[in-house]
């Protein structure tokens, strides 16, 4: 069979963004309050965040990772109220 798109050679980079612990998270609180109503009684608290999955062409070099980190602190997260973690997935 003919390869139409060629071999994919991308790496997935994940950026997880969370509100800082001291910032009120009413969405997380609403989820936390909904769980026991459904009979799930395991949670003492819930915080809600955002996850970005970024496909990067080729290998993720140190330079690319630095660029992604820069993008995360510039756009993906607001450092005033949020923290973020950048992870390369295998």
């Amino acid at each position: 069979m003919t390869e139409l798109t060629g071999p994919t050679n991308t790496t997935k980079v994940v950026v997880d963004v969370m509100l800082k612990p001291e910032i009120l998270d009413p969405q997380g609180q609403a989820v936390s309050a909904a769980l026991p109503r459904l009979g799930f009684n395991f949670a003492s608290s819930v915080r809600q965040g955002k996850r970005f999955e970024i496909e990067v062409e080729g290998e993720v070099t140190v330079e690319k990772l630095a660029e992604i980190t820069k993008a995360a602190e510039t756009l993906l997260a607001n450092p005033v109220i949020e923290t973020f973690v950048v992870k390369v997935e295998n």
Partner: protein, 223 residues
């Protein structure tokens, strides 16, 4: 004398803001988010709405619009700049004002006539008020909870940079009931409620919003 009102994709209150500007006898100039030219305006208003669909965070994408590059540079030089609601969110995302606006603490979108107290009448946009004056103007937002760290809050309070505070029950969980703040130079103001919707009794609950616009008229005539 001209005041520019920026339209982003998803802006909602640009027409009312321009109408409020005209109501005090100032020419309103429509500015477009994709055009970095400010067309000779003396001050700028960033209106309310849902710019770029509020995607990512409110104001996060608008802050990188071409027009914002020029506005940020001019505002740092002292050009009067008012951000209302979504405009306030854009000012925080631009780091022209400290802190951030987050989801209302009870999660509901609010739309009501809100009582405020003008705490600072020395800013470019509040000089026509009496200090401590109480006003009623519309408040309508889903993400209007003003948040900042303790050091920033202490600095804002200590330097008199809180421009307006909610009076009565806490509408959205803002720290210290903050409804609006200004920068150290007092030329930039961010305000969550909407003065442009309260300029006459025909279309608004009061005309209490009008002094925000007469303030800028006085500021520009005096300059």
């Amino acid at each position: 004398m001209k005041v520019g009102v920026v339209t982003f994709p998803g802006s909602l209150d640009d027409r009312d803001a321009a109408r409020a500007v005209r109501a005090v006898g100032i020419e309103a100039v429509a500015l477009w988010h994709g055009d970095a030219d400010l067309h000779g305006v003396d001050a700028v208003i960033l209106p309310g709405g849902f710019s770029y669909g509020d995607y990512l965070r409110c104001g996060a994408i608008s802050r990188f619009a071409p027009v914002m590059t020029t506005i940020m540079a001019r505002a740092k030089e002292g050009m009067p700049l008012l951000g209302i609601c979504n405009g306030f969110q854009i000012l925080c995302e631009s780091h022209l004002l400290p802190g951030a606006l987050t989801r209302n603490h009870e999660l509901h979108f609010l739309c009501r006539d809100q009582k405020l107290r003008i705490e600072n009448n020395t800013s470019a946009w509040t000089s026509a008020f009496d200090a401590g004056q109480e006003i009623v103007i519309p408040l309508k937002n889903g993400e209007g909870s003003y948040q900042c760290d303790d050091a920033t809050l202490e600095s804002l309070e200590g330097e008199g940079q809180v421009v307006a505070r909610y009076v009565g029950a806490d509408p959205n969980g803002s720290r210290n009931l903050i409804a609006g703040i200004t920068n150290a130079k007092r030329n930039i103001v961010g305000l969550m409620p909407h003065p442009e919707h309260a300029i006459d009794s025909l279309t608004g609950p009061t005309a209490d919003g009008l002094p925000f616009f007469t303030s800028i008229l006085t500021q520009m005539v005096g300059a």
